[in-house]
Each structure stands twice: as structure tokens, then as C-alpha cells.
């Protein structure tokens, strides 16, 4: 479980995160939604410690991130997996080397065990026969799946995804969403996903946080969001004709 208490983040004079408090449970797919520029990416990067926070506390199963020394933070990070918006695959390495990168760094596995783990992770994201290809040779959806395979290679306890289906066609986007939810349940991971894709909300949203102008404007379950009266949420969620019709029907 990840607990966030009243976190604030400033860049110069601009306050980007304004006192967000929430928690993310194990085995649940949590979605952070909001307009572009609302502070979702800063929130996610603050959660993993890529951005230091100016106020508040973040707890990983009762371990406070801000009070950890460098070695403790490193140890915590080996329990994390992250899928970046632009995939962040290492260009100079092939797909298999990308997937086993963290294993090479931190595990005592033999070469055969690492290969087996890479094959397992790649098969889990429905990718076969791409081990020796370079990231540049893959499509956007395939790269995203490799990024997920790399993120789960070390059996993480916490999985973070920043816009995992941005730039993908609707069919591939749904595949990625479902894959993330399956992995969350299968491995009992605490998963936090940043998205502004309403399809994701409907497909996999078990716990949703709506961020507006750097503050938490709403929090609830996937079903609740379709029936909420919160104006900020309804303006965002039902901005498309399709979702307005879904709401009317439900």
C-alpha cells in the first residue's frame, strides 16, 4: 500500500501539487485522471521520488520515502516498476537486454535463469520472437509492451505507468489497459496509472483520483464516476458525446 499525505510540490513560484492526500491499495488498479497540465505526471514522479516534494509525506508500506537514506531508497526502487510515457527503452540494447537490465544489475540469477525470466515476461505481454530486435524496430504498441515486460521483470510490489496508452490506436490501448489490470491482479501489485483516456477509466478503473489544477478534486470507484454530480469531474469525463450517451443510458 502507498499512502500519500498532504503533498505539495512547487516549481519556482508555481505550486503544481496542492496538498494531495490519498492511498493506493495492493492488488487494485488506481487511475489518476485529469486534463493535460493538471499535475498528473508531477504527482507520479513525486510518488517514485524523481521529484522531491516541498511538503507532506509518502509512505510505502509504512516506510517513509522522505526519511530514507540513499541505500534504503535504492532498495525500495528495486521493488518498483515504471512504464514511462515515451517507453524509455534503452536504444543501444536489444529487447531481451532491456527486459533483463534490472536483473543483471541486482539479481544473482544465472544467464539461463535470466533468459527464462525474459521469455516469461515477454510472453506475459504477448510478445514472442523479438528478443534480439532493437527498440527502434518495434511498433508503438510493441514498445509499450516491452516497457511493461521490463517493469515486471524484477517482480515489483509497486507498478507506476505514465500515460501507458497515449499515441496508441483504441484496440491496442484497450489491450494494454487489460494487460495492466491482469498483471495487477495476478501478481497482487499496487498499480498507479496516469491517464486522460476515458476508455481506460471505464475498462480498468477500480479506484480513480481526479486531479484539477494540482489538487484532488474527486476520488472514488469506477462505477461511481459515471454517476457523480461533481461538476469538475462531469465536465472532464463527459466532454465527449459518446460518454454523455453512456451516462444517459446508465
Amino acid at each position: 500500500m502507498i499512502e500519500v499525505r498532504d503533498i505539495q510540490k512547487k516549481f519556482g513560484d508555481t505550486t503544481v501539487l496542492k496538498g494531495i492526500t490519498t492511498s493506493f491499495r495492493q492488488g487494485v488498479t488506481s487511475l489518476i485522471i485529469g486534463e493535460s497540465g493538471a499535475g498528473k505526471t508531477v504527482f507520479l514522479k513525486s510518488l517514485v521520488g524523481l521529484h522531491g516534494i516541498d511538503q507532506g509525506e509518502i509512505f510505502y508500506d509504512d516506510r517513509q520515502l522522505g526519511k530514507m537514506n540513499e541505500d534504503e531508497q535504492k532498495a525500495l526502487r528495486t521493488e518498483m516498476g515504471m512504464v514511462f510515457q515515451g517507453n524509455a527503452l534503452f536504444d543501444s540494447l536489444n529487447i531481451e537486454e532491456n527486459v533483463i537490465f534490472a536483473l543483471n544489475m541486482f539479481s544473482e540469477m544465472s544467464a539461463a535463469e535470466k533468459k527464462e525470466r525474459a521469455d516469461f515476461c515477454l510472453e506475459r505481454v504477448n510478445l514472442k520472437g523479438v528478443n534480439n530486435r532493437k527498440p527502434a524496430e518495434l511498433s508503438g504498441g510493441m514498445k509499450k509492451r516491452v516497457a511493461i515486460a521490463r517493469a515486471i521483470a524484477l517482480n515489483p510490489k509497486y507498478l507506476f505507468c505514465d500515460e501507458p496508452n497515449s499515441g496508441l490506436d483504441p484496440r491496442t490501448a484497450i489491450l494494454i489497459d487489460n494487460l495492466l489490470q491482469e498483471i495487477t491482479h495476478e501478481f497482487n501489485i499496487t498499480t498507479v496509472i496516469n491517464t486522460h483516456d476515458m476508455n481506460s477509466v471505464v475498462e480498468i478503473g477500480e479506484h480513480i483520483i481526479f486531479i484539477k489544477d494540482g489538487a484532488k478534486a474527486w476520488e472514488g470507484g469506477g462505477e461511481e464516476i459515471l454517476h457523480t454530480d461533481n461538476k469538475a469531474v462531469t465536465d472532464f469525463v463527459f466532454s465527449s458525446e459518446l460518454f454523455r450517451k453512456i451516462r444517459e443510458k446508465s
Partner: protein, 257 residues
């Protein structure tokens, strides 16, 4: 007048802040690796990429500059009172003391420096450096240390090769009609001071450190996109070249005077 002080203060503050960030980067770079084997692989990859791949350009430039220095020195020492072999002596000293360590390092600042800055800059803007950090890998150490160590170890080898080929270039210029190759060889052996080679190699090691660390600094902290990567690669080349020129003066003052 007030404006002048304001801008000079701002310049000084920016400069001190940049220097502080550079030292912080260095302090995070030279840390214990998470896994020696992976760092060793990165070291050999960088050795090949930054060092061995530079052999071609260093060889071509050294041969031709050696030949041109010989022709120009011979042209300027046309005097019946100066024996021909003094030309070779002057060429040898020019190549060992200045051309090979300093000019070749400046050329490498362009080739290797822009390569390091643009590679790290691209990794920064495509979040690959963030990905390393989230995995628990120290990105400063993993990305910068192998490059620094590779070039610091390989640059002296490159410079020794450059010295050798520079002299060969001079010999070829003599062979193709300036003066007798026998005089050239006599001049080469005349009053040889081995300390000059040590001095050149010490300079080379310092220059290699400056090229890699300054270029890495500009690449590692890129903010923005492709344009900023290009801008920072240029800054890396300019700054490391200026640092080489200044360090060259300081080291010469310390080691030769």
C-alpha cells in the same frame, strides 16, 4: 552603472551555481557500482565507441599535420647557418609538446564531446535516465564513470599513436623532396628529452577528464527537446575546448617552467 553590477553579479552567480552542479555531478559519479560486471561491460562499450573509433581521424590528422609542420618549419629555417636536421628537432618538439596532446585533444573535444553530450541529452529527454533512477541504478555513475575512465585510459594511447604518426608524416614530407631523410632521422634523435613525453601524457590525462566530464555535464542536465540537445552539445564542445586551452596553460606553467 547599476545595471552593469547587476549583470556582472548575475553572471557570477550563474557561474558559481554551474560549477557547484558540476562538482555535485562528479561526487555522484565516482561511487561504488551496483554491479561491477555491468559497469565493466559499459566501460568496454565506451572504450570502443569513444576511444578505438577515434583512431582513424587521429591517424589521418596526425600524418598530414606532421607533414605540414615539417614543410613550414623547413620554409622558416632556410638559413645556411642552420643545419637541416634542426628542422626535424623542431618538428619533434612541436608534435610531442603541443600538437599531439593539445590539438588532438581539441579535435577529440569536438568528436567525443559532442557524442557524449548528445547521447546523454537524448537519454535525458526520452526519460531513459529517469528509468535508470527508478530501477535503483545510480545514473551518474553508470552513464558517466565508464566514459571518463575509458577516455582517461585510452587518450594517452591515442596521443602516443598520434606522436608516432606525426613524426612519420614529417619523415614522408622530407622523403618527398624537402631535405635528406638521413638529416631528418639525425634531428629526431638530437637532444631528446624523455620528460617531454611524460609532460604530454600528463596533459593528455587531464584533457581526457575535462572532455568527458564537461560534455557529460551538459548532456546529463538537458531540459527540453531535440533543439536543447543540439544546443547543449555545442556548449559541451565550446566549454571543454576552452577548459583544455586554460588547463594547457596552467599545466605548462606548473610542469615546464
Amino acid at each position: 552603472m547599476q545595471n552593469y553590477f547587476y549583470f556582472s553579479d548575475m553572471f557570477l552567480i550563474t557561474w558559481i551555481r554551474t560549477l557547484g552542479r558540476y562538482w555535485l555531478m562528479l561526487s555522484r559519479t565516482f561511487r561504488k557500482p551496483e554491479n561491477w560486471n555491468e559497469y565493466k561491460k559499459a566501460f568496454f562499450r565506451d572504450l570502443d565507441h569513444l576511444g578505438v573509433d577515434s583512431l582513424g581521424i587521429v591517424a589521418v590528422i596526425s600524418i598530414f599535420v606532421g607533414a605540414v609542420v615539417t614543410i613550414q618549419t623547413n620554409y622558416n629555417l632556410q638559413d645556411p647557418l642552420i643545419p637541416d636536421y634542426y628542422v626535424a628537432l623542431a618538428v619533434r618538439e612541436s608534435i610531442i609538446l603541443e600538437f599531439s596532446p593539445t590539438i588532438v585533444s581539441l579535435i577529440l573535444a569536438g568528436k567525443v564531446g559532442s557524442n557524449i553530450a548528445s547521447t546523454l541529452g537524448s537519454m535525458r529527454v526520452s526519460e531513459q535516465i529517469d528509468a535508470l533512477e527508478v530501477m535503483g541504478v545510480n545514473p551518474h555513475a553508470y552513464l558517466i564513470m565508464p566514459k571518463v575512465v575509458a577516455l582517461v585510459l585510452f587518450n594517452p594511447i591515442l596521443i602516443i599513436i598520434s606522436m608516432f604518426l606525426g613524426v612519420i608524416g614529417g619523415y614522408l614530407a622530407a622523403y618527398f623532396g624537402i631535405f635528406s631523410t638521413q638529416d631528418f632521422i639525425t634531428g629526431l634523435q638530437l637532444e631528446f628529452n624523455a620528460y617531454y613525453v611524460s609532460y604530454a601524457l600528463i596533459k593528455t590525462v587531464v584533457f581526457a577528464f575535462l572532455i568527458t566530464s564537461i560534455s557529460a555535464f551538459y548532456g546529463f542536465f538537458v531540459k527540453g527537446g531535440a533543439i536543447e540537445v543540439g544546443v547543449n552539445a555545442t556548449k559541451a564542445v565550446v566549454s571543454s575546448s576552452v577548459a583544455i586551452i586554460v588547463a594547457n596553460y596552467v599545466l605548462t606553467q606548473i610542469l615546464l617552467v
